[in-house]
């Protein structure tokens, strides 16, 4: 990358804009292209995009659905025209904008690989030379002479992707195609993509998964509403995008679980009125990064004096797994004191949210103080609100489906080699 910047850019985009005209009939488009007559309404898909890409850079394009990522890729790949601005490319381009280009269902996998590779720019001889390599990569040798239509969608994806990455272009444009196939194959593709990346090819890569972008790319661009919002080092851009996504999901996520009011059980003594999750600024929020501080605000209404009740929180992952629970009396004893009748507000804080990726449901209950003679269980709650809140947690790194992150520290390394 350091040497690349001194050279001419391989992709040079200046003031690129794309507006779609919304037409009522295709003939209006013909009239516009041929005669230059303007009709139809305008929709701006891309606005004033400019950037340079140098040889060997691996660029990830992130952004929400409909932001214009694919439109930008298609314009760079040349399958779509730009309304304004210019794109200059130096070098051969290969693009996987969608898997299965040139693949026909009635032909065998083998025939399709040959024609598919030719459609991507190889000559017939080159395609035949690479045939074995492609079949081996797809691991479909056993069915390669069967008609393509008999393949499962996963097998189709494997064969088409194997074909697509067999060509060694100078500029490689990939749109979302990696999402196909099982985890094992995706991983295999990633390794191959890495090889392409390190071979000095310039790669332009679109994905919703900031994780993939972080693993593959050196630089990232964030596009929103057709505009380039950020262009910079991959971690910086991805984090900014993740924050935006989190903010967004926080604002759209329905915090209160539908029907959860029915799960709010109260007694003559107490009722849970409100439960809120707040971020460290004290703003209500329902989506958090792991290791953030989360405040819990519980509003009770008591009809009687209650002495030192036990407060209970339970967090269940949306798939039903009990993630964690906490009781104010056990194992450590926290005395809430005597609470008079009337409204009572209790503030709790989780200083370091340890939960892993997922959507969680919060249950809140208060129990009367337990005398030592009673049973070991807290049985009769004064009030219990099951699944009162829903919230999301995101790991900052790549997504994992673990419930929480156990802290681990390395305290020593010794090798088996002895110094003689």
């Amino acid at each position: 990358m350091t040497t690349g910047h001194s050279q001419e850019p391989v992709i040079r985009v200046r003031g690129l804009g794309k507006s779609y005209r919304v037409f009522d009939h295709p003939r209006e488009i013909l009239a516009e292209v041929l005669l230059g007559r303007k009709n139809g309404r305008e929709f701006k898909a891309l606005r004033d995009i400019s950037f340079d890409v140098h040889r060997g850079e691996v660029i990830g394009l992130v952004g929400p659905n409909g932001a214009g990522k694919s439109t930008l890729l298609k314009i760079i790949a040349g399958t779509l025209d730009a309304t304004e601005g210019e794109v200059q490319l130096t070098g051969s381009v290969s693009a996987i904008l969608e898997l299965g280009t040139g693949f026909q269902p009635d032909y065998s996998g083998r025939e399709n690989v040959v024609l598919g590779a030719m459609c991507l720019g190889l000559t017939r001889t080159e395609a035949l030379e690479k045939l074995d390599e492609i079949i081996d990569f797809s691991e479909l040798r056993g069915v390669i002479d069967q008609p393509f239509r008999t393949y499962s969608s996963g097998m189709k994806a494997r064969l088409t992707f194997s074909t697509a990455i067999s060509v060694s272009p100078e500029i490689f444009i990939v749109d979302e195609a990696l999402a196909a196939g099982d985890a094992y194959f995706v991983n295999k593709c990633l390794i191959r993509m890495k090889e392409i990346c390190t071979s000095g090819a310039t790669v332009f890569f679109v994905s919703h998964s900031t994780d993939l972008v972080k693993r593959l790319c050196t630089r990232a661009m964030l596009i929103e509403n057709g505009e380039m919002v950020l262009d910079g080092p991959v971690l910086e851009v991805c984090t900014a995008y993740e924050m935006k996504v989190l903010d967004h999901s926080s604002s759209v996520l329905q915090a209160v679980v539908p029907g959860s009011k029915d799960l709010n059980l109260s007694s003559a003594t107490a009722r849970i009125e409100t439960v809120e999750l707040l971020n460290k600024e004290g703003r209500a929020q329902n989506a958090y990064f792991q290791h953030e501080m989360v405040k819990v605000k519980i509003g009770l209404h008591l009809s009687d004096l209650v002495v030192n009740p036990a407060l209970w929180l339970k967090i269940t992952r949306s798939d039903g797994v009990n993630a964690t629970s906490w009781l104010s009396h056990e194992p450590e004893f926290h005395d809430l004191g005597s609470l008079p009748s009337g409204p009572v507000s209790i503030d709790l804080v989780m200083p370091d949210l340890e939960l892993g990726d997922g959507e969680y449901l919060l249950t809140v209950a208060i129990f009367p103080e337990k005398s030592s003679a009673d049973s070991a269980f807290y049985l009769d709650p004064l009030a219990l609100w099951e699944q009162c809140l829903r919230f999301t947690v995101r790991r900052r790194g790549r997504p994992l489906n673990t419930i929480y992150d156990q802290q681990v520290k390395i305290v020593g390394v010794s090798t088996g080699v002895e110094n003689d």
């Binding site: 003939r27 041929l34 399958t79 459609c119």
Partner: protein, 276 residues
């Protein structure tokens, strides 16, 4: 004016270069096109021979035995009506097939147009080539017929490759234009189909120009397709250059049509992504 002229020339050059560069792909797709057409059918590729053969037999039967057309045996008209009919019918069927099939050549390959960096000028040209593959079959029928009937074919048949190239260039031009326009205007396919049904009567295939009432003769002369038919009749039927002007007109038309067609195609292709 001159810059516009050079731009349209560069479109034609760009198309030609791309076609030459991707000739392997073009050939492969042509073979596929022919195979695909009859894919899944019991007789398969046999249809690509059977289809034109049947049409030829039908026309020969109707005009020879039903309408009892008899010509030939004179210096003016050296061979029989069947030879005359076939020498015009064979190229016409190829031209007509090229035109109607090219209309869906781009529409039918949306994935290649939209999702890949792909030399799409190959698409209309491949159907033109595929259409002319069936023409070779019909040509063989004509030659076999003449060999049986006259034990010879006109020596002018040696010019056939040249004429075929001119016709291919002409059809490639029309094909590119039609393919591009049909992407926007789907009706073109039907317009072309209607025209080609009527078209066979607008070219001198079934009849001699001399049979046409004087008032209509100019129509025959301005019809560009007539000139191709006359060239074929010159080398396959008359065995001499009866229509020297037609040779000139055909060649010029082919060049003009190719420049025009590739121009239309290259200008319209930028919008394919929006309409398909």
């Amino acid at each position: 004016m001159s810059s516009a002229q050079s731009r349209s020339q560069s479109h034609a050059i760009r198309t030609t270069k791309s076609l030459i560069e991707h000739r392997g792909l073009l050939w492969e797709l042509t073979k596929r096109e022919q195979k695909d057409r009859y894919a899944g059918q019991m007789l398969g590729v046999a249809w690509s021979i059977g289809h034109p053969l049947f049409l030829i037999l039908l026309y020969v039967f109707i005009f020879n035995f039903v309408f009892r057309q008899t010509v030939g045996g004179t210096a003016e008209l050296p061979r029989d009506y069947t030879s005359y009919l076939l020498s015009g019918l064979v190229p016409w069927m190829a031209i007509q097939e090229s035109m109607s099939r090219s209309c869906s050549s781009v529409n039918g390959k949306v994935d290649l147009v939209k999702q890949a960096v792909f030399p799409i000028e190959v698409l209309p040209v491949r159907v033109v080539l595929a259409s002319h593959q069936s023409m070779l079959v019909s040509l063989a029928c004509l030659i076999v017929y003449q060999l049986i009937k006259y034990q010879s074919v006109p020596s002018t048949i040696l010019l056939l490759p040249l004429l075929l190239i001119v016709q291919l260039v002409f059809c490639a031009g029309i094909g590119c234009a039609f393919a591009a326009i049909a992407a926007y205007l789907r009706d073109l396919k039907d317009i072309v189909q209607v025209f080609s049904t009527a078209g066979i009567y607008l070219v001198p295939v079934f009849y001699l120009p001399a049979w046409v009432p004087g008032a209509f003769k100019p129509f025959l002369d301005v019809n560009p397709f007539s000139h191709f038919i006359w060239c074929y009749q010159d080398i396959l039927y008359y065995g001499s250059f009866r229509h020297p002007i037609s040779w000139l007109v055909s060649t010029l038309l082919a060049a003009l049509m190719f420049v025009l067609g590739s121009n239309v195609f290259q200008r319209l292709r930028v919008g394919f992504g929006n309409v398909l």
